[in-house]
């Protein structure tokens, strides 16, 4: 970047005026009004698992408090390793523990795992197909701290890596249920994580919902639009469906918590039903995430509904208050509903 183009960048930045939302805390709540929440579902599920399986250990690179791993560190300190602010040894030591028969859960922020520790995840973990579980907070746009903390391309980075299982959970139910499931999977897993007070949404729509590896599930049926969503965007899509129902638009929501391996059978079966607009929705850059994975699946199979993508733009995103940013980049339920309406 030249000095001149940097100057242009500064000029382009808006000067806030009037009522402002303060820059959110590092971990802003994702819960919309009226949602039930569960506190630290990952940490509690991991403690429950560790009590029944001696192979389970937890490692953190100085972010235990911010990945809910502090629950394990407090309740079972002998099963917790503080690795310090050192993501490369976090991952390679987890690989070494896995070699010795343990099931390590390594946690940090998604940006640091995907960007800083990638070579170690690729060679020390994935190439050797070791059962290291990498569970990472602040996926996509879930913090207002700007690009240093916004892992908008983590799934794109890891989708190209053989042997990896990739998870983008929606809510507290997904997170609590996936912990024993990914531990039982004999291979490497990367999962995005929501921490702190995490909304509980899926069981409101589907009381018998059970997270399963490699399975996409219909959470809501509808005849006009099919939204294929992952992570927090399933939550937003469900809320958007309620808004659109008021306008007489009937929206189905297919939740895809596992990005790889993708449940192509369910996706093709649902997208192949005639008469529905198909929209993907993801908290991730438009490049290389759920939307492109679904698009490729449909095209290869010759299934060609009208297809649209809701995703983050191929840009470094702004810093600011999270609700403002979700509004700006189209991740709120109202914006999702508005975009879908515009495509009908």
């Amino acid at each position: 970047m030249t000095l001149a183009s940097m100057a242009r960048k500064y000029e382009a930045r808006r000067v806030p005026q009037g009522e402002k939302v303060a820059t959110s805390a590092m971990i802003a709540s994702l819960a919309a009004e009226g949602y039930d929440t569960v506190s630290a579902p990952f940490g509690h599920a991991l403690v429950d698992l560790a009590k029944t399986d001696e192979r389970v250990v937890g490692l953190s690179a100085d972010l235990a408090k911010y990945t809910d791993l502090h629950v394990l560190a407090t309740e079972m300190p002998e099963r917790f390793y503080q690795m310090g602010m050192a993501e490369q040894v976090l991952i390679s030591a987890a690989a070494g523990l896995a070699r010795e028969g343990f099931i390590p859960f390594a946690t940090t922020y998604a940006v640091f795992a995907s960007r800083r520790a990638y070579d170690f995840i690729a060679m020390a973990v994935a190439e050797e197909n070791l059962p290291v579980k990498i569970v990472c907070a602040l996926p996509g746009l879930t913090t207002g701290y700007g690009p240093s903390h916004q892992a908008t391309e983590d799934l794109a980075i890891f989708r190209g890596l053989p042997n990896m299982t990739l998870i983008d959970p929606c809510d507290a139910t997904d997170i609590a249920q996936m912990v024993p499931v990914i531990a039982a999977h004999d291979g490497p897993v990367y999962s995005r994580l929501l921490r702190g007070k995490v909304p509980s949404v899926l069981t409101r729509y589907k009381p018998d919902y059970q997270f399963e590896l490699g399975r996409a599930q219909m959470i809501r049926e509808g005849g006009d639009v099919l939204v294929i969503a992952s992570g927090i965007m399933t939550m937003r899509a469900l809320d958007a469906a309620e808004l659109l129902a008021r306008d007489g638009v009937d929206v189905a929501v297919l939740h895809v918590p596992v990005i790889k391996p993708l449940d192509t059978a369910t996706i093709l079966a649902e997208a192949g039903k005639p008469g529905r607009l198909v929209v993907t929705a993801e908290n991730h850059t438009v490049v290389g995430g759920l939307g492109e994975a679904v698009a490729g699946t449909l095209l290869r199979a010759g299934v060609t509904p009208t297809f649209r993508m809701i995703a983050l733009p191929d840009e470094f995103l702004e810093a600011g208050a999270l609700p403002t940013l979700h509004e700006m980049y189209g991740l709120t339920a109202a914006k999702v509903a508005q975009q879908i309406k515009g495509w009908l």
């Binding site: 250990v57 390793y81 690795m83 310090g84 050192a86 490369q88 040894v89 991952i91 390679s92 030591a93 987890a94 690989a95 070494g96 523990l97 896995a98 070699r99 010795e100 028969g101 343990f102 390590p104 070579d119 170690f120 690729a122 060679m123 020390a124 190439e127 050797e128």
Partner: protein, 256 residues
């Protein structure tokens, strides 16, 4: 092995041969018939391209059959140019992306302690890997976790791909650096077999719960003077008629 390809990491292999011989035939507890025996000392080859040297040692130790050595680097061989765990019995990890071995060794040493297994973890790395930041993350981590069952071996031949390691990042008092981090550190002539054996013994005999490092000063192409004299020895090309000459010189130099 190298003769089949006409070239290879022969300089490194000859330089580190004494260290590997002392490791496998003096220091390590292992069972050639059961390379994955739980009680074995773990030996990690962080520098994957040194595989040519480790294959020879694994053959001498009875872990690999001698007649397979000629397949080195060929299609369908179990002995690829850069060592990989899934290809070769006795190869603990996939090395080659440099700066990985010591971190994996940290995790394995933590795991062994957790299991109450008294085995040691050895990690063989190059002086070039001293430039990788991940090496120093692992150095600090081994001290923090009091890994007295971890022994790091540094092959200091002062050669990396673009020239001298000491002209790049391996500058200064290398032993002093490791000691400052809290390691038990030794620096010895890696081509003096008695000194190498003594260093292994001393490293294992440390009673404090701290990791140990031995920095071995080695000479690339050791034992073959006409190769030692070559300036660029990172990836040696040896002409067809030179192999027999090299073998003859090595044979002469063998201790009786």
């Amino acid at each position: 092995m190298g003769e089949v390809q006409g070239q290879g990491y022969i300089g490194q292999a000859l330089g580190v041969a004494d260290v590997l011989a002392a490791a496998y035939f003096h220091a390590l507890t292992h069972d050639p018939k059961h390379p994955e025996w739980e009680g074995r000392d773990r030996f990690l080859l962080s520098i994957g391209h040194y595989a040519i040297a480790l294959y020879a040692v694994l053959m001498e130790a009875g872990i690999l059959p001698e007649d397979e050595l000629e397949t080195y680097g060929m299609d369908d061989s179990r002995m690829p140019m850069s060592g990989m765990a899934s290809y070769t019995p006795g190869m603990e990890i996939t090395g080659g992306s440099l700066g990985h071995g010591l971190g994996i060794a940290v995790g394995m040493a933590m795991g062994l302690q957790r299991k109450g297994n008294p085995a040691f973890v050895y990690n063989l790395m190059s002086d070039g890997e001293l430039g990788e930041g991940s090496t120093w993350e692992a150095v600090m981590s081994a001290v923090q976790h009091r890994l007295g069952n971890l022994i790091c071996l540094v092959d200091f031949n002062d050669q990396q791909a673009d020239g001298k390691s000491t002209a790049a990042l391996a500058q200064g008092d290398e032993r002093g650096k490791w000691e400052a981090f809290g390691w038990h550190a030794q620096r010895v002539n890696g081509n003096d077999l008695d000194a190498v054996v003594a260093a292994f013994d001393a490293a294992r005999a440390v009673t404090e719960a701290k990791p140990r490092v031995i920095i071995f000063d080695t000479t690339m192409c050791k034992g073959v003077p006409f190769l030692e004299a070559r300036e660029i020895t990172h990836f040696v090309r040896v002409e067809a008629d030179e192999w027999s000459k090299a073998l003859a010189v090595l044979e002469e130099g063998k201790p009786s």
